[in-house]
């Protein structure tokens, strides 16, 4: 049965106050500002990816203003905050800050909504203490993370300290966060937490953490939390499977779109390039198609390589995309770990850093290699699943640094130290050999080498796009015609895909033809274009031929009312024969299948074909002597406007 109280927020009762501080983790995340918030939430989304889904996890980040009356239980929370008693200068200051914020009628918020993720399970069981019910763990426990039953996924996932969700509390002036969940059955629930301090309220002592939940009496001695069904304000709604984090009372400076975008790119450039993740920040899309434009835009990043001192993302992206990886074996004296190192030597770089990246695609740290902090290089290091789980054990709680300090077992700690030292040593070797190769030792430079640097760059590009085989001890170079895979038509996130398509297909499939006499365009009365076969659809069924022309990608014709259409035969060798085919002796009549307008043939051209919304359709009746096996290319003529 549900206890008969109308409250939204639950604080557990305790016999007395023992701890007078705020949760320590809050402060650490507070220091990491918006970067920490973005990292924790996106990492959770990546971890929650559908196992069977191959496309990217998508995360939508939105910021805005929210009226406080729309925040469920806002008044209750303000009552609690007013009851807090600081017992040291730090807590006093924090409470003062909270009290300064609670009188606002409208506050800013940020939300992170993910898709193609599992969401949490078992919300309807509430606080069930079952490993399968991830809602119960996420909503009502601290410092616990739910383990994947599949061990390879468990090692690839990001978090393991189980403190991630507190990053969201830390971003709120009053340490408040909500999470809206929609599970595989479409069940929608809203949960939330607030991190205060242990306090007295109406003659009773309470724990520091408050939960947005109903209380259900299980038996005489125990109660459990049950979530609310989500029918709150639209900012809190999550209607597709997955999780949405909502943080009201967002701290000042956390809502800058540009900062959020760079935070996403800084931590997750690899996931995004690899197509494992796409993020939308206030309608700006960051995906594998756009990330290159973002990191090379001076709006977001310093573009002068000499000036790159703190944020290295544009360099990492360039290194990862342009350089071939080399293998790097690093030992912790007990076991060897195999990494791939993408390494770039560029004399304009003033600070040399190595991005340590986990397979899930999240950067852990900008590693400073001992003695090489100011060397002109940039590198990206990534391992496999085994390396991943080792790196994970070396990470500090905020996933931002490799260290051995937090490891308790002295043997493991020694191994970790050894590993971190060896990592630096191996990378130093690579750096040194690159410096040597680029700076010949003596003062007199070999004149043969003046083109060497430029030449090597081109060579690398050529080698990566053309393979060679040695045949008769001579290299034979292999190349392929370009293949662009077609988009899937039934993909779930059609909106994104369509935009991608538009970007790729801006190339105009119509090509202007010069008249044979070479006269200038302005002088002839009509313009002739060849229509690339991709914009024409053609089929013969029984004694009818159907043609469809799509001019929507060709601005020149798009707005014309009509055009003339001619054609040329393509023979078995791919050669065009312009005057071989006689329209009049092949087609009985030609008309528009939609309105039955007849089209005439004149000078071997189909005249005045109507263009309706950029498309022209024809239905042609065939004469018996028509050669049904021929292949064509089509020409389109329109009057010259000039």
């Amino acid at each position: 049965m549900l206890l008969n109280e109308t409250n939204y927020w639950r604080f557990s009762k305790i016999p007395n106050i023992e701890e007078s501080n705020f949760n320590k983790v809050l402060e650490r995340f507070y220091d990491m500002k918006v970067t920490g918030l973005v990292r924790e939430n996106i990492q959770n989304s990546l971890d929650g990816k559908f196992k069977s889904y191959e496309g990217p996890v998508s995360v939508k980040i939105q910021t805005g203003e929210l009226e406080t009356r729309c925040i469920p239980g806002n008044e209750e929370l303000i009552d609690r905050i007013r009851a807090l008693q600081g017992r040291n200068s730090y807590t006093k200051e924090t409470i003062r800050h909270m009290l300064n914020k609670v009188d606002q009628r409208s506050v800013s918020y940020i939300s992170f909504e993910d898709q193609n993720t599992k969401g949490l399970t078992g919300a309807s069981y509430g606080q069930s203490n079952s490993k399968q019910h991830t809602w119960g763990i996420y909503a009502y426990n601290k410092g616990v993370h739910f383990e994947e039953s599949d061990s390879t996924i468990e090692t690839a996932r990001g978090g393991s300290h189980g403190v991630g969700k507190i990053a969201s509390n830390a971003a709120s002036d009053i340490h408040l966060m909500f999470f809206a969940n929609c599970d595989q059955n479409g069940e929608q629930h809203l949960g939330g937490t607030i991190q205060l301090i242990e306090h007295a309220y109406k003659d009773q002592y309470y724990r520091a953490s408050g939960y947005f939940a109903k209380l259900q009496q299980d038996n005489d001695t125990s109660t459990k939390f049950m979530p609310f069904k989500n029918d709150f304000h639209e900012v809190f709604s999550k209607t597709t499977r997955g999780l949405k984090i909502i943080i009201p009372y967002l701290r000042k400076g956390y809502a800058e779109t540009d900062d959020i975008i760079t935070s996403v790119c800084d931590s997750f450039f690899m996931s995004i390039i690899e197509g494992k993740l796409e993020v939308e920040v206030n309608n700006i899309k960051i995906n594998s198609d756009t990330i290159h434009d973002i990191v090379t835009s001076s709006t977001y990043y310093e573009q002068k390589i000499e000036e790159v001192k703190k944020i290295f993302t544009p360099l990492y992206v360039n290194t990862y995309l342009e350089k071939a990886p080399q293998n790097l074996v690093i030992s912790d004296s007990r076991q060897n770990f195999n990494f791939r190192l993408y390494f770039n030597y560029d004399e304009r770089i003033t600070k040399g850093r190595v991005a340590i990246v986990r397979t899930v695609g999240m950067k852990i740290e900008d590693l400073k290699v001992k003695g090489n902090v100011n060397k002109p290089f940039n590198a990206v290091l990534i391992g496999g699943p085994e390396e991943d789980s080792y790196l994970k054990s070396l990470e500090n709680e905020s996933h931002t640094e490799l260290s051995s300090d937090h490891i308790k077992d002295p043997i493991l700690q020694r191994q970790a130290k050894r590993f971190i030292n060896n990592l630096s040593k191996e990378i130093s070797k690579v750096i040194e050999s690159a410096i040597k190769a680029n700076n010949p030792a003596d003062g007199m430079i070999n004149t043969e080498d003046i083109l060497y640097v430029v030449e090597t760059e081109f060579k690398q590009d050529l080698q990566s796009s053309m393979g060679t085989v040695l045949i008769n001890n001579k290299p034979v170079v292999k190349s392929k015609t370009t293949v662009k895979k077609k988009e899937k038509r039934n993909a779930k996130e059609n909106i994104n895909k369509n935009e991608k398509k538009d970007r790729k297909q801006t190339r105009n499939p119509l090509k202007l033809q010069k008249s044979p006499s070479g006269e200038h365009d302005g002088e002839s009365t009509s313009k002739k274009y060849s229509a690339h076969p991709e914009m024409v659809e053609r089929i013969i069924v029984q004694d009818k031929e159907y043609l469809n022309f799509d001019f929507t990608k060709s601005a020149e014709i798009m707005n014309d009312q009509s055009c003339d259409i001619g054609l040329a035969v393509i023979d078995g060798m791919g050669v065009e024969h312009t005057n071989e085919f006689d329209l009049a002796s092949s087609y009985l009549d030609i008309r528009n299948p939609n309105n039955f307008t007849k089209y005439d043939i004149e000078n071997n051209l189909i005249k005045d074909v109507e263009i309706i919304e950029g498309k022209a359709q024809l239905e042609l009746s065939l004469l018996p002597q028509y050669n049904r096996t021929l292949k064509f290319v089509y020409y389109v003529e329109v009057p010259n406007d000039l």
């Binding site: 430029v454 060579k459 393979g467 292999k478 015609t481 988009e487 991709e534 069924v541």
Partner: protein, 283 residues
């Protein structure tokens, strides 16, 4: 024969360029090995049209591997084969060799079960019959260039005191050659000499790309890299590869500088830094 030039067939054909099949691809990759008297062409393909895959299974269509060198050779291959062996006496790899995979009908094929077509063709599929020996699909083309001596070099430099100009840019068959009349023009005594030569590199690239457009453009003004045939000159192939790798899709006389910017790694920027460095250090 290998289909490179796209044309409008009187029925839908699966190719990687046309949209007749809404989302299917037919992608070929070939690798080459040799033994003492044989070349072995190992091929892999990716076909994701359920309709055609099914026809293959039912043995109603035939896979054909086409190898075009001096002449055309056809190999009927089975779904399960992974390579063909060709005696060295019958295949010369000194010239360009192109390989394509095709699917041909072995009997009249009715298309009414073909759900892979695009919306235009779907409305006709019930009535569509394609005759025996008709081409139903063709893949991309894998090309092996005749043996080149400098497969990956783009530039060469020479010093020639008899030159009638200080610098001369020449386009060789495989490389761009920068000729200097005086070795001094290479800035050899400067530590940054490689960067100080970048303006010559720039000029060389500009010249070569201009020639590329003349060689490969239908109107000598633009080349659409997504549909043009693979260039025949070894130098043009290298430029083509560099451009497609950097996602350049079209080059025209007007866009040569942009293309150089994309395919080269900041050569002007590096030149400027080098000059600034010299100015500051006065060396």
């Amino acid at each position: 024969m290998i289909y490179k030039k796209n044309a409008n067939f009187p029925y839908p054909v699966l190719t990687n360029d046309s949209h007749s099949y809404a989302e299917s691809n037919f992608i070929l990759d070939v690798s080459l090995e040799e033994s003492s008297n044989m070349y072995r062409l190992k091929y892999k393909y990716e076909l994701d049209s359920p309709f055609l895959e099914n026809l293959l299974k039912e043995n109603r269509v035939q896979l054909l591997l086409i190898i075009q060198s001096r002449d055309n050779k056809y190999y009927r291959v089975e779904d399960t084969d992974q390579y063909v062996d060709i005696p060295k006496s019958r295949l010369s790899l000194n010239k360009r060799t192109s390989v394509q995979l095709q699917i041909q009908s072995k009997e009249e094929i009715n298309f009414s079960l073909n759900e892979d077509l695009n919306d235009f063709y779907l409305q006709f599929k019930e009535k569509l019959n394609v005759s025996k020996h008709a081409l139903l699909a063709y893949s991309n083309v894998v090309v092996f260039e005749g043996s080149t001596t400098k497969p990956f070099e783009l530039f060469e430099k020479k010093v020639n005191p008899t030159l009638s100009s200080d610098i001369k840019i020449e386009l060789g068959t495989e490389t761009i050659i920068i000729n200097y009349r005086n070795p001094e023009y290479q800035f050899v005594e400067f530590s940054q000499s490689n960067k100080l030569n970048n303006p010559y590199i720039y000029t060389g690239l500009s010249r070569a790309l201009h020639q590329f457009i003349i060689n490969n453009g239908e109107d000598q003004e633009t080349v659409d890299l997504e549909v043009c045939d693979l260039p025949s000159s070894p130098l043009d192939i290298k430029l083509y590869q560099l451009m497609t790798k950097k996602m350049v899709t079209e080059i025209s006389i007007d866009s040569i500088d942009e293309v150089i910017h994309k395919i080269s790694d900041h050569i002007i920027d590096k030149y400027i830094s080098a000059i600034k460095g010299l100015a500051q250090h006065g060396d």
